[in-house]
């Protein structure tokens, strides 16, 4: 009993903000041979500690072979899943010595149940009985994937202990609520445990765990070392939290940002521009990075290793004055804008034409693109919106996405927007095919249907604007009802 209390205290220390859930789980598990609930569903947001807590909890409280952990994305077929479970329950790992085989061949639920009922023969003399005395646990992470494995797998797992007549407790982990697991004919319902979101206090405490408790010493130019204590880190994480919490509460994301921004934050201390206690000044100096991080790092526009490399490169090149260091780091980060990719000149026009064909209503083509029409008539957004738009402009093509268009229409637009006569050497069908291969165009009709092929333009407005700019084409003027 005391042992249990120790475990529980240790777990609560390791997982701030989860003490209720730890208590619940520990009391449901009871002693190893106690009867348990047949199945449990643990759900909560991503990085709310489901995987790490459950694994930690099981490994500290019961013997390793009493529980099996399966990630349903990694082991996505019934066979992989069941064989792995039985391997873990028998402390068997596929290796060179056993020709990388599993301990028992299990193709489907029926085989699995057979193994549960009859046990696994380990050798001539002994058979591993599963769940005859102590409860075995089967942890299924990303359990929502079980729904794709066949209609009966999930309902069967939920009542595995009833069907097999063994002490088995199935623990499902998922970010998805139980309603989404229900099937029409119903099934035994698991006990639901929610891992709630963390409060700000919990989040800060967890973030602080990445930072050693005794603080850390950093080297400062000319002056030996300076000690950074716990509070320093705390105030730093608080700032990170307040910048990002509105759009991101994911712990893993926050930790990632903290890890990457912290070195930049303390840079001014290293090179003597600020002191440890001058937090306000430090924030001011780091402000540009934070702004940049929102976009680039959070959206993964550059990878974290790239970010780390560039920032450290800049920091190493201490030749310039400190202010320009910051500026150039940011510039370096910024340059990695859209992966530039270049298309031949006329192909760009083809893409533009297909964009126009995808987003403009055909009835306005004459007004926009008739060569004969006077330049003057082409006023910017000169055409009145149709009056019968009930949804307050929410049904604009811009919002609805690209419409499929026949090739002929796109070609008509194409010929009208290029100024000069087309070079004979350009093979338009080939260009269309290559745009399709690049997935810039999508073919919406079947391949075998040669006539009347239809396409959709598959690029964003920003992208097409870039393309248009590179060929000095003012695309804004030709788009209907864009805001």
């Amino acid at each position: 009993m005391n042992d249990m209390a120790d475990h529980s205290a240790e777990l609560k220390r390791r997982f701030p903000g989860r003490s209720d859930q730890i208590d619940t789980l520990l009391s449901l598990m009871g002693r190893p041979a106690d009867p348990t609930v047949p199945s449990i569903l643990i759900y909560g947001h991503s990085s709310s500690g489901k995987t790490s807590l459950v694994r930690d909890l099981l490994s500290t409280t019961i013997a390793r072979k009493q529980w099996a952990y399966i990630n349903c994305i990694e082991r996505h077929t019934p066979r992989m899943m069941f064989e792995h479970a039985v391997n873990e329950w028998c402390s068997w790992s596929p290796s060179w010595d056993n020709q990388f085989t599993s301990i028992a061949r299990i193709d489907n639920l029926n085989d699995f149940l057979c193994v549960l009922k009859e046990g696994v023969p380990l050798n001539q003399h002994s058979t591993e009985m599963i769940g005859d005395k102590e409860t075995r646990y089967l942890v299924l992470d990303r359990a929502e994937r079980l729904r794709d494995m066949g209609a009966t797998i999930l309902p069967a797992l939920l009542r595995l202990s009833e069907i097999s007549q063994r002490n088995i407790c199935v623990i499902l982990l998922s970010t998805i609520v139980y309603e989404k697991f229900r099937t029409k004919s119903g099934s035994y319902e698991p006990l639901v445990i929610r891992f709630p979101e963390y409060s700000k206090e919990d989040t800060l405490q967890i973030l602080r765990r990445d930072f050693s408790e005794d603080g850390m010493d950093i080297e400062v130019e000319d002056k030996g070392t300076v000690h950074l204590n716990d509070d320093f880190f705390r105030s730093f994480s608080e700032v990170i939290y307040s910048i990002f919490f509105q759009n991101c509460k994911d712990l893993n994301e926050l930790r990632h940002l903290v890890a990457l921004l912290f070195p930049l934050f303390i840079n001014p201390i290293r090179d003597g521009r600020a002191k440890t206690h001058e937090t306000a000044k430090l924030f001011k100096l780091a402000q540009p990075y934070f702004a940049e991080a929102t976009d680039k790092l959070y959206l993964r526009e550059i990878s974290s290793s790239e970010w780390a490399k560039r920032t450290s490169e800049m920091a190493d090149a201490k030749t310039t004055t400190s202010h320009t260091v910051d500026a150039s780091v940011i510039a370096a980060i910024r340059t990695n804008a859209k992966g530039d990719f270049d298309l031949p000149y006329y192909t760009k026009f083809l893409l533009i034409a297909s964009y126009l064909a995808s987003y403009n209503p055909p009835r306005f083509d004459v007004r926009y693109f008739a060569k004969v029409a006077d330049e003057k008539k082409k006023k910017k957004r000169g055409i009145h919106k149709s009056a019968s738009d009930k949804s307050g402009g929410k049904m604009r093509q811009q919002l609805l996405g690209p419409k499929a268009f026949p090739v002929e229409r796109m070609l008509a637009i194409f010929y009208s927007i290029i100024d000069d006569k087309l070079d004979d050497a350009i093979d338009i069908p080939v260009q269309i095919t290559s745009l399709t291969t690049l997935r810039l165009l999508l073919r919406t009709t079947n391949m075998d249907k040669l006539d009347g092929a239809k396409y959709k333009c598959n690029v964003s407005f920003d992208f097409i604007r870039g393309v248009a700019r590179s060929v000095r084409f003012e695309i804004d003027k030709y788009l209907f009802d864009f805001i």
Binding site: M1, T24, S27, L28, G30, R31, D34, P35, T36, P38, H45, S46, N108, L109, N110, L113, C114, G150, T152, A156, S161, E162, I163, V177, Y178, E179, R182, S185, G186, S187, Y188, E189, L191, V192, I193, R194, E197, S199, F245, Q246, N247, C248, K249, D250, T294, D295, Y298, S391, G392, G393, K394, Q398, L399, L400, G401, P402, K456, N458, V459, S460
Partner: protein, 501 residues
């Protein structure tokens, strides 16, 4: 006692249950049953109420908190024993002590199977009843009593439609179960009928007659999906032609199971059906609950302390079943589903936290676990989304209001942009800023990963911003989520709950 009295007064004043988002499965939305003001299922402000309960356990009328120090270790074992025996029942490992409301069905089935076991008469029968109505338990009870009365004069084969998903595996399982029980050899056969017949012919014990076999097919409707329904055909055929004495018992919760059977299968079936109903009155329901939670007093227990503990435990249970708040929890389950398993669900936590320090069941624990199991999980999940995600959800709600039930990210973003422009213009933005399209798209995809927002078509035919989606929330769930969101800026609150500013 004062608190109890007060609650009774509350009890008398009926109040309609406010809309509280039952999950999708509960078709029966109970309109006007009266329930206590402080409904324990609603995560409401009844905290203070509960706190007073915790502080004041003797109120429950347990006269003697049993001697603590010297008998501590023996008490711990008694508690452990009690805990295990109740857990055995609510985890459905052991059979309930009595099946009072199913006695008629019990007699029917018992008679039917006894004919097979005693006289060698073949039979087939279908047990139909909702989930948790006691089908499995009933069959197990009957088999148990037959085993007592007739020793080993018959065999049982248990199949489950969830596990034996085709006839091949069903046959393998039948072979496994029969050979295990009567030591026969494996042999392979070409046709299904042939191998089944062979299996049964081997059961001939001595010269006189073959051993009767009782086939129990759980989730019977799933067997009807097997190709050509060969297993069912053969089993019913044997039952009808009385080659071997067998009984085929099907268990299902589908009322239309008969319609699933092919004509040639149906014509061989006896058409005998037994319906099972959940307890029809609240009295039956709560007494069934109570019998599951109570400890039997048996003569074999001689230790004075042990009997005292059992008596005290059952007394505490009596008190529990007089607690109006606890009864309201049970009542609500009864009104919604009549499913005993729902009650078991909320019993798990209180029962597993029994210990020497806390040896009796008390009402407070049940409120908490009741809240946990019945809370609307989507609203709960929404408490943890980021503010941006919440605003996107409200934007989708606004689209829904305009009867745009499917939408894509662009439309949602446009709605969000309008809202932000509006709040910024009126100076109510309170530090909220308009996030870029890409950041919002990431948030949108996050919502998609929870399946709160789902694509309409399974295959993507256009860029992801334009993929048509629908939201899996009711408008009331959305406004509920906004109301419950921690530190929600007033502008968002106003926009999400009421009409636009």
């Amino acid at each position: 006692m004062t608190i109890l009295g007060k609650r009774k007064a509350d009890d008398a004043s009926p109040s309609c249950l406010a809309s509280d988002n039952q999950s999708e499965d509960l078709e029966t939305v109970v309109q006007d049953f009266t329930i206590l003001e402080s409904n324990p299922f609603l995560v409401s402000d009844s905290e203070s109420d509960r706190a007073s309960d915790v502080a004041d356990p003797p109120e429950n009328g347990i006269s003697t908190p049993p001697p603590v120090t010297e008998h501590d270790s023996s008490l711990a074992t008694y508690v452990q024993e009690a805990k295990n025996s109740i857990l055995d029942r609510i985890s459905e490992r052991s059979l309930p002590i009595d099946l009072s409301n199913l006695s008629e069905q019990y007699d029917k089935l018992h008679h039917l199977l006894e004919q097979t076991v005693k006289v060698g008469e073949s039979n087939s029968c279908l047990l139909i009843g909702n989930r948790g109505s006691g089908k499995t338990v009933l069959v197990r009870k009957v088999i148990q009593s037959l085993q007592k009365e007739h020793k080993d004069n018959f065999l049982t084969v248990e199949l489950n439609g969830l596990i034996q998903t085709d006839d091949r595996s069903a046959l393998r399982e039948i072979t496994r179960q029969l050979t295990r029980e009567s030591q026969m050899e494996d042999r392979s056969f070409t046709s299904f009928a042939e191998s089944l017949a062979f299996l049964l012919s081997l059961l001939k014990s001595g010269s006189k007659s073959t051993t009767p076999v009782i086939f129990i097919l759980d989730e019977f409707d799933l067997f009807a999906q097997h190709t050509k329904q060969a297993l069912l055909y053969n089993l019913f055929d044997i039952a009808q032609s009385s080659q071997n004495p067998i009984a085929v018992i099907g268990l299902t919760c589908r009322l239309d199971t008969m319609e699933l059977l092919e004509k040639r299968v149906k014509s061989r079936f006896s058409h005998r059906q037994i319906y099972l109903y959940p307890p029809s009155s609240f009295g039956d329901f709560s007494s069934a609950t109570k019998s599951v939670l109570s400890l039997p007093m048996s003569d074999s227990i001689t230790d004075e302390n042990h009997t005292t503990y059992i008596r005290n435990f059952n007394e505490a249970l009596d008190t529990l079943f007089q607690d109006p708040l606890f009864l309201a929890v049970i009542r609500r389950i009864f009104d919604l589903t009549k499913d005993l398993r729902m009650v078991f669900k909320i019993c798990f936590q209180p029962v597993s936290s029994l210990s020497a320090q806390n040896p009796f069941l008390t009402a407070t624990q049940f409120y908490d676990s009741g809240i946990m199991q019945r809370a609307d999980s989507k609203t709960e999940l929404l408490k943890g989304v980021s503010l941006l995600e919440l605003i996107l959800i409200v934007s989708m709600g606004k689209l829904l209001d305009r009867e745009t039930s499917t939408f894509n990210f662009q439309m949602v973003y446009d709605e969000y942009k309008d809202f932000m422009n509006m709040t910024q213009a009126s100076g109510h933005s309170f530090g909220m800023k308009l996030y870029k399209r890409a950041v919002a798209l990431k948030a949108f995809e996050h919502l998609q990963s929870f399946e709160l927002v789902c694509p309409v078509e399974s295959v993507a035919k256009c860029p992801k911003e334009y993929r048509m989606m629908k939201i899996m929330l009711e408008p009331s769930q959305i406004s509920n989520a906004v109301a419950k969101y921690r530190d929600c800026p007033t502008a968002v609150k106003k926009w999400g709950i009421g009409n636009p500013l």
